[in-house]
Subunit: 333 residues, 2 copies
């Protein structure tokens, strides 16, 4: 039985989406148990909406949120639903943890309690990103680290390589570094050093630099970048797509004849939305820790949570943590 600790506090829209996604997931996956940690009254209320109640759903009552997310040291020590969920994994009472809570508090707490893997200097946030050619890629770091050293980039490349094999089902993932140019001499010092190290690492199918201009075309399976740059890239890509959608909608709705044409084309827009919908992937992995750890958006809906739960399922069934440890040469307990 695989056990998932699910901190259901911290979603801007309440617990309902988390509860519904969990119930559906459990009905379809009888070898999983989900432990919901949150306000029991709210969870129970949300459960009344579910016709088909799964048997492997547990509830731990803990309505507490971090009192000050900017004060990481304080929130580490508080009895919050987030900390309780993380503790279940740290104490090997659950196999994976999922939360929509504050990213900074989650990262700090998970790192502190679950610990980093030997040989890993920093944990990183890693979403699975869509491309226009259907395949997906792993982007990291998207904001766990503001200042990034070359060794972090190399370590993340190694770990993400294993994740790509398991989650994207690719034997030799194309691992790249996102940079401001494709020439070797361009970019930050840390990037150039990491580039040289990865070029000489024959355990990884390293394809060199890629530019953010082509990243949605499916040119790489893993794209490594510092957390500051990665966050800018992620938000720029999301922003451009959202803005473009809005613009095209406005232009179509500005004339009747176009509205008619839209009826014929609706399907294409749906296809596009589906292809580039971040909710299909749902979440960002926290990688580099000695545990399976994933973070969902604070505004996740049922579809986003279902995506996250399915990712966890894949990671656990493929025993991803073990593969990462093997790659890093770490003895498993």
């Amino acid at each position: 039985m695989y056990k998932i600790a699910f901190d259901v506090n911290g979603n801007d829209n309440g617990v309902t989406a988390a509860v519904l996604a969990s119930c559906k997931f459990l009905i379809n996956n009888e070898d999983f148990e989900i432990i919901l940690i949150g306000d029991k009254d709210e969870i129970t209320k949300a459960l009344t909406k579910v016709k088909n109640q799964p048997k492997n759903l547990k509830i731990i009552d803990n309505p507490n949120m971090p009192s000050d997310v900017k004060n990481i040291h304080k929130s580490l020590r508080e009895n919050t639903s987030m900390n309780e969920a993380i503790n279940l994994v740290a104490n090997r009472k659950a196999d994976a943890v999922l939360s929509s809570g504050d990213s900074g508090a989650y990262l700090a707490s998970a790192t502190f309690k679950i610990k980093r893997l030997p040989g890993i200097n920093r944990a990183a946030f890693m979403p699975i990103m869509p491309t226009i050619v259907g395949r997906k890629f792993l982007l990291l770091d998207v904001g766990a680290n503001i200042e990034t050293k070359s060794e972090y980039l190399v370590e993340w490349a190694k770990v993400a390589n294993v994740y790509a094999r398991a989650l994207l089902n690719i034997i030799k993932p194309r691992v790249s570094i996102i940079n401001i140019g494709t020439e070797d001499y361009k970019g930050l010092e840390a990037v150039k050093v990491a580039n040289e190290i990865l070029k000489n690492d024959f355990t990884i199918n390293y394809v060199g630099y890629v530019e953010p201009r082509t990243i949605l075309e499916g040119v790489a399976d893993v794209a490594v970048i510092d957390g500051y740059g990665g966050n800018l890239v992620l938000k720029s890509l999301e922003g451009a797509i959202l803005s473009f959608k809005k613009l095209i909608k406005n232009k179509i709705m500005s004339k009747t004849i176009r509205k008619i044409g839209y009826l014929f084309l609706k399907g294409s827009f749906k296809d596009v939305a589906e292809t580039l919908d971040y909710r299909n992937v749902g979440a960002a992995w926290v990688i580099g820790l000695n545990g399976v750890c994933i973070k969902s958006h604070g505004s996740s809906d049922e579809k986003a949570y279902t995506g996250a739960l399915n990712q966890i399922k894949l990671a656990l069934k493929k025993n991803i943590l073990n593969s990462v440890k093997k790659e890093l040469g770490v003895d498993d307990e």
Copy 2:
């Protein structure tokens, strides 16, 4: 008479686009002179295609390109068309310089020959960016500087503020810093320091941090960022829009019924392309120097060059350099 020095070498597709754009521009702007610097034979050949020959077109024969763009020190001293064009501005024989050559060589040479303005530590690349609401904004730096200090950001904000007034015709431009979050405590140290300084600078209408997620919605008129981050943002925005366009086209062309609908909708796609077409703005300013200096893409077409020439026209007619000097408290000669 305003004089523009135009280095026409360095375009991937030859000199034709530059020559055609120059001729058309001069026909419509009789108070301008353009000095084309490049391979005279090629220029003369391109001129044979022009029916309506302008009188204020000069040619300086110089077919030389930098021998090694990575060796900045060497290319500074070479007799290239780029250096000759820059020298014309440095020696006050032209009022503005335009080139499609290598960005690094151009920046180094322009900085070395034209010199930085007093009080400015670094020059920056600044394109005028489109938004989905029709208005435009200035984005800087997009790659002149890899490592950026807080004072650079503040200086760029001041200079770009003046450019926004002149080029975008806005009395009190909304000046922002692009950051990975809107909360004061987020981001690089240099960004946080610059944020505090700009908050207390009442000569600027500083609106605080903006995220790249909303930047195409027209939330700011000036968006300042370090050169590394700015380059990533620029290329991510461009890339996402190009990829999105490609995807939607593929989805439409996949079914006959959709192709029919497309006929009704064509106009909207054209409107969208026009709104977000970077060629309408055409180029990136090099700001912070004691001269009017602009850089076009290496693959610029006639439309892109026309955009660049029209920007130069606006800058010269509004005497932008003088306004920048006033803002910086620099005495004009």
